[in-house]
Amino acid sequence: MLDLFLVESKRQWLLFRRYPVEAFAGVAVFTILFVGLFTGSRFLAGQGASFGVRLDMVVAGYIIWLVTTGLFAAPGSQVTEDARTGIMEQLFVTPHNFAVYTAMRVSSGLLQHLLLIAVVTGIIYLITGTALDYRAVELLPFFAIILAATGLGLLVAAYAMLVKQVGAILMIGQFLLLAMVATPIQAYGAWGKWLAAIVPINPSAQLLQHQLATGSAGKALDMAISAGNGLVYFALGMVALHLAATQARRRATIGVF
C-alpha cells in the first residue's frame, strides 16, 4: 500500500505540475471570497471597529472550512471523473478494495491540498493582520476534522458509484459544511453538547476553532468526542463506499456514466 500511496502521490503531483491553473484558480477563488467577506464586514462595522478574538475565530473557521471542502469533494469528484473518462473499470480489476483505494487517494492528495490552503492562509494573514496560535494540542481535532470530512466525501462517493451524478450534492454540500464548521451547536441548551457530538465535523471544528483563536486547550472529554466523531464518520463512509462498489459490480454499472 505504501508503493501505491507513492505512485498515486506522484500522479497527483505530475497533474498539478502539468496543469497548475486548476489548483491556483481554487486558491484565487477562496482568497477573493474571504477578502470579499472581510472587507464587507469591516464596512458594515464602520471605521475604527476592532474584531479581536472574533476575527481570529472567523479566520480559523474559514481555514477549517477550506480543509473540509477539498476532502468532502475529492472522492465523489474522482468517482465521477473516472467514470466519465472511462478509467473506472481498470481501477476495479485490481486486487485492492475500492473503498481503501479511494481513501488512500484522498490521503495522498492531502499534502497538496494543505499546501494550497497554507498559501490562502498566508494571504489572509497579510490582509487581516491576524495570526493564529498553532500548538501540538491542535493536532487531534485537526485529524478528527480530516477523518470526518473524508468520511462524508466517501459517502458522496458511494452515492456517485451508483448514480455517477453528484454535482448538485457537492455544491450544496459546501454550504452544509460551512454550517457544520461554524455553528456553535454545543451552546444550544443542555442537549447542545450531545447534539454537536453526532453532527459530522462540528465538535472537532468548534474545538479547534476555539483553541486556535484563544490559545486554550480542550478538555479530555471534548477531545474524546472529537476523535470519536471523526472515526465514526470515516468508518461510515468506508462501509458505504464498499457496499456501493459491491452493488455496482452486481448491477454491472461500474463503468456506466
Partner: protein
C-alpha cells in the same frame, strides 16, 4: 498456462420500472491455455457481459468462473491472473505518459515500484513504444494508445488477457501489429479472449470461436470448422437474367439454393451448374467461403430461428 472454465453462468439486468433483461443464460465454456478464443454475437448478445465477468468486473447471478482453478470469488488471487482491455479509450490516464501509466497500473496491480518500472521498460520496447515513453498519452495515436492499453494489461504477467473490441478505431497498420502481438502472447502460453465486430480481425486472430445468440452460447468451434460449416454452399453466383422453371428444377437437383437472382451452391457442382445456366448472362461469381460476415449472419439466423 491457465485454463478458463465458465460453468453455468447467468446474468439478468434489473432496472427499476423496466422488465428484467437476461444478458447471459447458463453459459458454460472451457478455454485452453495459450488459446485465442473469439466471442462473437450481435449487439446485445451478451459478449461484453461475458468478458466483464471474466475480468472480474461484473458478478454473475449464478454459476462459477475459474482461471487456472482459482474461483472468481477469490478476488485477489483471481485478478492477479487476469489482464483486461476494455472497449474504447478507457484504459489509460490521458494526462500521463506511457511510462507513468504502466508504472501506476503495475503498482495498482500489486507490483513494487521497482518491478513496475522494470516492466514498463520491457513492455514499452516490446510494444514498440520506447520512443514515446515520455509523450503525454492524449497526444498518441489511437493505435498507440491501444498498444499501450494491452501493454498495461500485461504488466502483472497474467495467465489470461481479455480484450473487448481491441481494434475499434485503429488503423490497418496498428490492427496488424496488435494481431501479431496477441498471437505471440498466445504462443508464449497466455490465453487470449477477444470480442470483435471486425470479423476479418477475428479470422486472422482466433483459434476458436464462441457464438452467443440472445445470451445463450450456441456454438464453440475451431474457426476452420466454423468456416467449413458453410462449405455446402461455398459459391455465390449473381444472374443478370430471369431463371426459367426448367433450369430452376435442374439446379435444385444439383443442390443449388436460390433466392431471387442469387444462387448458392457447393464446389463440386460448379461446372455442371454452369452448363445448366448456359447461355444466361452471369453478373458475378464469388467464392463465398471468404465472406465471414455472411457465414456469421447465417449462423446467427440459424440459431435464432431454432
Amino acid at each position: 498456462m491457465d485454463t478458463v472454465d465458465v460453468i453455468g453462468v447467468s446474468k439478468t439486468y434489473r432496472v427499476q420500472g423496466h422488465a428484467p433483461i437476461p444478458a447471459l443464460r447458463e453459459v458454460s465454456l472451457s478455454i485452453h491455455g495459450g488459446e485465442i478464443l473469439a466471442i462473437l454475437g450481435l449487439n446485445g448478445a451478451g459478449k461484453t457481459t461475458l468478458v466483464k465477468m471474466l475480468s472480474g468486473l461484473v458478478a454473475p447471478d449464478s454459476g462459477r468462473i475459474l482461471v487456472g482453478g482459482v474461483e472468481s470469488t477469490a478476488r485477489r488471487s483471481y485478478l492477479g491472473r487476469v489482464g483486461a482491455v476494455f472497449e474504447g479509450n478507457r484504459n489509460i490516464y490521458w494526462r500521463l505518459t506511457p511510462f507513468e501509466n504502466i508504472e501506476y497500473f503495475g503498482v495498482l496491480r500489486g507490483l513494487s515500484i521497482r518491478r513496475a518500472r522494470a516492466r514498463a521498460n520491457e513492455l514499452l520496447e516490446r510494444f514498440k513504444l520506447g520512443d514515446k515513453r515520455n509523450a503525454i498519452c492524449a497526444h498518441l495515436s489511437r493505435g498507440m494508445q491501444q498498444r499501450l492499453a494491452i501493454a498495461i494489461s500485461l504488466v502483472h504477467e497474467p495467465g489470461i488477457i481479455i480484450l473487448d473490441e481491441p481494434t475499434i478505431g485503429v488503423d490497418v497498420e496498428n490492427v496488424l501489429e496488435i494481431v501479431e502481438h496477441l498471437k505471440s502472447l498466445a504462443a508464449s502460453g497466455i490465453t487470449v479472449v477477444v470480442t470483435s465486430h471486425q470479423l476479418d480481425v477475428v479470422r486472422m486472430l482466433a483459434d476458436r470461436v464462441a457464438l452467443l445468440v440472445g445470451g445463450r452460447l450456441v456454438a464453440t468451434q475451431p474457426i476452420d470448422e466454423f468456416m467449413r460449416r458453410s462449405e455446402r454452399a461455398p459459391y455465390c453466383l449473381q444472374l443478370e437474367e430471369e431463371l426459367d422453371d426448367a433450369r430452376a428444377g435442374r439446379l435444385r437437383e444439383l443442390g443449388v439454393e436460390h433466392g431471387g437472382s442469387q444462387l448458392h451452391f457447393p464446389a463440386e457442382g460448379l461446372y455442371d451448374i454452369l452448363d445448366v445456366l448456359k447461355p444466361l448472362r452471369i453478373g458475378a461469381l464469388n467464392a463465398a467461403t471468404h465472406d465471414f460476415s455472411r457465414i456469421f449472419m447465417d449462423r446467427v439466423k440459424e440459431y435464432e430461428s431454432a
